[in-house]
Every structure is written in C-alpha cells, then in structure tokens.
Amino acid sequence: MAETDAQGQSYEAQHVHSVYEEIASHFSSTRYKPWPIVERFLEERPDGAIGADVGCGNGKYLSINDKVFIVGSDRSTNLVSIAKQHHQHLNTSSLVVADNLSLPHPLHAFDFAISIAVIHHLSTPARRVEAVAAVLELLKGAGGRALIYVWALEQKDSRRGWDEGHEQDVMVPWVMKGKKEKKTGSAKKGRRKGDGEEGYGEAAKEEEQAVAAVQDKTFLRYYHLYRKGELEHDVEEAGGVVVESGYEKDNWWAIARLKDGDGR
C-alpha cells in the first residue's frame, strides 16, 4: 500500500496495470459470467440510455442490454483489444483505452455508469475516493445512477478465507498455468480455471486436475479489501448519495447518484 498520490500511481503501475497487461488473455478466459447485481442494474436502465463502463476488462457487461449504448474503457490495452474482438459487430458499445482517474468523458453526460471490480485496485484512501468521484461526475443530475462493485474483506467462506479484522491491503496471486499436456485417458476439455478471485472461476476445477501443468507463473496484484460500510463512506466522501447497497458473493456493491442530483 502506498502513502502519497505519486507513490500510489507508480505502485499501481507496477502491481496492478502491468500485471493485467501480462495476464490479460488468461484473465479474460475466466471472466465470462456476469454477476447478477450488475446484470439486473443494466437491464433496468431505460431504453436509449447512455452509459460508461469504467474498467470494462474484457467487456463482458457491454452486451447485457442491447437497448442502451455503453462506452467501455480500461487501463489495459491488451484487455481492450480482447474486448474489441468480442464486440466488433455490436451496435451498442464502443471501447477506448483510458485511466480511471483521467477519463476522456464530458462531465454529467451519462445516464449511468458502472465500475465493477476496479476501485479496489487503487492504493491510497484518497485515490479510491477520487476514483469514485470520477465515476459519479460522469452522471447527469437528472436520474443518473452509478453501480460500484468492490471485493469484500468479509468472505470467510471463500477460498481465500479473509474476514473481519484481517489486513485489508493484500497482494493476491494470479497463477498462470504454463504449457499444458493432457494426461492419458479421458480428460474432458474444459475452460481453463483462472485463479479467479471473485468466486465464479471454480467451474473448471475438475478438468484442470486432469491436466498436468508445467512452468506455472505467479503474478501478484494489489487489492484493497473493502470492509462493511467502507464503500458507502467513499461514495459520500466523493460527493455522492447511496441509493441502494448490499453484499453479493464476496463483494460489496452500491448504487449511487450525485448529491445535487434528483431522487428519480
């Protein structure tokens, strides 16, 4: 964890940005299932709404609702390339490479914004609040809504086993499997299992065990694990109002609007 803004920036460059560039392809192959809260939020947007997906990764949320237009952005050029390959012929989205603290969008021009599993990668409290503010300031005052989703500290039943009272700033390994050789026999072909943190990467575990992996490579990514109430606090610090919030599968989420926006 960094202390100053400048340290935070270079820390994240090393422990977040460069890691995602390297693991982009493998990471993407494990990110195909949308989270129910995010899916619900997108499906509830009015027809023709304009949205921003800040930190869109491989773009898995760009095609949930084909009645809205979404501009997706990500810091990782490689992830954006993958997202583009998947969405080349989709009418209702577009992609750019951008940093979430320097977004290339006009202020208050969007009906909605989402930032899913992004803000927990910022390494100082001030930078996290700034990242929330950067999402909120995209919103129109009238009816604008943002959904923010971060990894929770309280996840004692997860594989990681973190819980209340544990260290919140952690380095999380991503194991990229090396060259694979199938064992003799009837190993089923399955999706590769990423060392996925959010709980939806487990499906292919059995298939994985039928495959002998050599030359595994481990990458460490920085995360700030949010404790209960912390996301709501950050939203308020950033000038927002929490409309709804909750916990879903090892993550905290909040739907927010601007303080001076209306309550619609």
Binding site: Q9, D47, G48, I50, A52, D66, K67, F69, V71, S73, R75, T77, V80, S81, K84, Q88, H89, L90, N91, T92, S94, L95, V96, V97, A98, D99, L101, S102, L103, P104, H105, P106, L107, A109, F110, D111
Partner: protein, 139 residues
Amino acid sequence: MKLLTLNFLTCAIKTCKGSPASFPLHPRDSELEIIETDINLPFLKNILPRLTWDAVRTISTELGLPELPATAPTREDLVEPSSTSEDDAEEVPTQVAKDLHRLLLETCVKEGKLVCGCCEHEYQVKEGVANFLLPGHLV
C-alpha cells in the same frame, strides 16, 4: 471507433473539461472504415434525443462527409409514415434513419488522431481504438 462515440468523449486532461473548446475532439489524419451492422430502429430513435447534434455535424464536416442539416432529425423523421406502429419491431426505417445509422454506427475511425481544441493534445487511434493514457507530466 464508431463516430457515435465521439459524442461522449472529450480531453482526458482535467483542466480542459470545463472548456467548451475541448468538445468534441477533432479527428485528424483519419482513415475511416465502414463496419456494417444491422440497423436497429428503436435504438436509433431512443438515442436521438441524447445526441449533441452540433458535435455530430462538426465531426462529419471535419471528416469530409456530406453536410448535415442544421437541426437534428426528429423521431418521426426516422420512421416511414405508413409503417408507424405501437410495436417498434413493425416500423420501417426511412432513408434519414439509414443515413444516420451509417454515419453514427457504421462509420468508424480506424487510424488517426483525436485532437483537443483546448490544449491541442493529440490522442492516437490505432486499429479502431483511441488511447487516452496521458504521459506522466500531464496527469
């Protein structure tokens, strides 16, 4: 990058955002391509009120595309009158709708630059993706 996207992009430098000159970004040295997609009339009708038409016109002119009328078409302009229906799916797009679809959703910047009218910073577009990462001294 679809031209529609330019309606929702500006300079990534914070001090430019308050300046009217930073919107829209100006395409320069652009190589355009057409990526055909199925026309979606209900979608076009719904995004129409969210367009900044002056920006659409400016960009179109700067790219050397045919000049657009001074005011945006209305939702009615997009639907063949004989086909107007409660059910969106029954409606037939007019030539105006087809032209708008071609301009906003099928015409893409493949290579080139996007330039901020405020600070003159140039953002590169490569293989259809604009890159807004700033060099360290501008962050």
